[in-house]
């Protein structure tokens, strides 16, 4: 290679490497701001600020959804399978909202440790399957031990 071209190539490589390091350090420093939501473990450990608008994300715990009989008030627990946070929400939930599904809720954590949400978004995972396959999976997993199923869900789905 021609020496001038070699020199130019070195400059280009240094440019790209330098920018990559700068951006890498910046995003690393801002990682808490880039994260869209706090997960239940962080909230349970007290890392999330109280009475500040934040987002909380995780899976809706099985059997935790309770609807108020004469209003739109819904309460449920959001879990990441190691800790869980109680959530209260008044309003219309997205179609995909269901027990065992991922959600991201926006709202404030009150001093009793209850997350009062004013917006609930459904989080979809990367798995797609036809309805028949889902039914077959459901049927075959019913015979097995429940906790094995939950463990598998924790491994394969990103909440």
């Amino acid at each position: 290679m021609h020496p001038i071209r070699k020199k130019r190539l070195t400059i280009v490589l240094f440019l790209v490497a330098g920018i990559a390091i700068a951006v890498g350090l910046t995003t690393y420093a801002l990682r808490q701001n880039i994260n869209l939501f706090y997960d239940p473990t962080e909230i349970a450990a007290g890392n999330a600020p109280v009475d500040v608008r934040i987002r909380a994300g995780g899976m809706v715990e099985e059997g935790s959804v309770a609807r108020d009989a004469d209003s739109l008030l819904v309460s449920f627990r959001v879990t990441d399978f190691s800790a869980s946070v109680p959530v209260q929400y008044e309003g219309i939930l997205p179609d995909l909202f269901a027990e065992g599904q991922g959600v991201v809720a926006m709202g404030r954590l009150n001093d009793q440790g209850v997350f009062v949400a004013d917006q609930v978004l459904a989080k979809h995972d990367e798995n797609y399957m036809p309805p028949e396959v889902a039914e077959a999976l459901e049927r075959s997993s019913k015979g097995q031990h429940k906790s094995a199923d939950v463990e598998k869900a924790a491994e394969t789905t990103a909440y």
Binding site: R5, R8, L9, V12, L15, V16, I19, A20, V23, G24, T27, R31, I34, N35, L36, F37, Y38, D39, G57, L93, P94, D95, L96, Q101, V104, Q119, V120, L121, A122, K123, H124, D125, E126, N127, Y128, M129, P130, P131, E132, V133, A134, E135, T156, A158
Partner: protein, 247 residues
């Protein structure tokens, strides 16, 4: 190898090659894309959770793939522009930047349309969506910078530097869903693992991705040929070509 590389720098040689390959690229692109989209939209099974709304994936994923791939190709061309000062590399960057811009916009738009019924919101400032929006601005910036500088050579170098600076955004888009908590789900297609959807869904998706690549190849050839004719209009081979065309 170097001889081939230097030949590639000749606009006239590329013009001939592109003319020969274009019908094939167009035919392959049209067939693959039609097959993938029709199969995906009409015949693939619906999703157990989202029903039919997931079908936008057959448009969303190909455009998002192309939006990133085109930028990576532009970055390689930018290195060639800066190091070897090859005219053809700059012609490529200039010609495909608007195509990349359109694909990025389409992937953001289809994502928003899907996000409203699925997530419950059109837009959320999570890492994936935001980094994709930055990609849109990078494409826009490259186009604007090129138009803003009159001198062809300085424009080429300035755009090349901008494109290279922006290339750090590509791994951020790719890994955003793994590095940070995002609303956007992780990739369904991974290089090392089986896709997390059944074959009757991913085969049409793969067909439409490949089809869009071919169609992009064709589009790049069309735009590059136009750009070459504009730049080389004073040379003998272009004049002869036009004379022959007029008969």
């Amino acid at each position: 190898m170097w001889q081939f590389f230097h030949k590639l720098g000749s606009p006239k040689w590329f013009f001939g090659i592109a003319t020969r390959f274009m019908p094939w690229l167009l035919a392959a692109g049209a067939i693959l894309l039609m097959a993938g989209v029709v199969w995906g939209l009409a015949f693939a099974p619906k999703d157990y959770l989202q029903g039919n709304s997931y079908r936008i994936i057959f448009i969303h994923v190909p455009t998002a793939f192309l939006a990133q791939s085109i930028y990576i190709m532009m970055a390689f061309a930018a290195v060639v522009t800066l190091v070897w000062r090859m005219k053809l590399a700059d012609v490529f960057v200039k010609s495909v930047a608007p195509v990349g811009l359109i694909f990025t916009f389409l992937s953001l738009f289809t994502g928003a349309v899907w996000g409203k019924p699925t997530w419950g919101t059109w837009w959320v400032w999570d890492a994936r969506l935001t980094s994709m929006l930055i990609l849109l601005f990078l494409y826009g910036g490259a186009i604007a910078l090129d138009r803003a500088i009159n001198d062809e050579k300085s424009a080429a170098r300035a755009v090349a530097v901008l494109v290279l600076v922006g290339v750090v955004n590509i791994p951020i888009i790719q890994y955003s869903v793994e590095w940070w908590n995002t609303l956007h789900q992780p990739s369904t297609f991974k290089l090392t693992e089986k896709p997390s959807m059944p074959a009757e869904m991913w085969v049409p998706l793969l067909l439409s991705v490949l089809g869009l690549y071919c169609l992009f190849g064709w589009l790049a050839c069309v735009r590059m040929k136009t750009e070459i004719l504009m730049r080389e209009q004073k040379t003998r081979w272009v004049r002869e070509l036009i004379m022959a065309e007029r008969g």
